[in-house]
Amino acid sequence: MKRLFPILSVLTALLLGYALYLALVVAPTDALQGDVYRIIYYHVPSAWTGMLLFLINFVASVIYLIRRSQKADILALVCAEVGVVFCTVVLVTGPLWARPVWGIWWAPGDIRLTSTLVLWLIYVSYLVLRRFSNSAQTQMLAAALAVFGALDVPLVYFSIWFFRTQHPQPVIGGGGSMDPRMLHVLLISWMAFLCFGFLVCWSRFRLELLRREVEEAHALESLAGAEEISPKASVPLSRSTK
């Protein structure tokens, strides 16, 4: 396990490098947009990876609500956090692509753009709740929020199928068409970002396990300290009442 992580990290770095080479050098230039369309190779894979992570967050939250599994809770937290990072990339690269192509940074009222921003806000709220709430119910409330928040994921994905938007139509499915060479590069790029996302989630999962371990050790330490100060406190109730 200890060796697997560095090996996978090197392979992912190589894959990301290869994807970058394909995106900038091998993929053909778009006839209408020119080279700026190459943003698609970072924008779309980031969006797909982010949405996949939010869906995993949804499944893990449902498992937590049913079984109260701590590992499911950690997985939900990790996927939400890394998903927000990918969603941030989408919200930053989107306007950078829109400006030269549409002439505007943002199309107010556009359902795809707005629902993506709402999705990001929902998961940022989820993380804020988890970070700053000390209630014993935090995990349950966060899981419930995640279940409702996940409803926005299909809305984001299918909005361009069912509504007229400024955002382009889907490149895969939904009647969209793409040059096979561009599609090949897009899929390799997605694979690279998926591997990268998996590694980041893995690191974050280990970090969360370590954090809970430290928290537990602190709690045990303060409990031991309290017993040293007041030895009577450790006397079982049945004996102390006699």
Partner: protein, 42 residues
Amino acid sequence: MNGIKFLFAAYIATWLIHGFYLATLVRRFSRLREQLRELGKK
């Protein structure tokens, strides 16, 4: 259409965001390891 500067801005922004997040993970890891070491000493 000359959008090269936007293309590079998007790619750089992507790696800046990921780099910033990875840096926060590294910082959190080192803080926790330090705390564990202190707990071990006690």
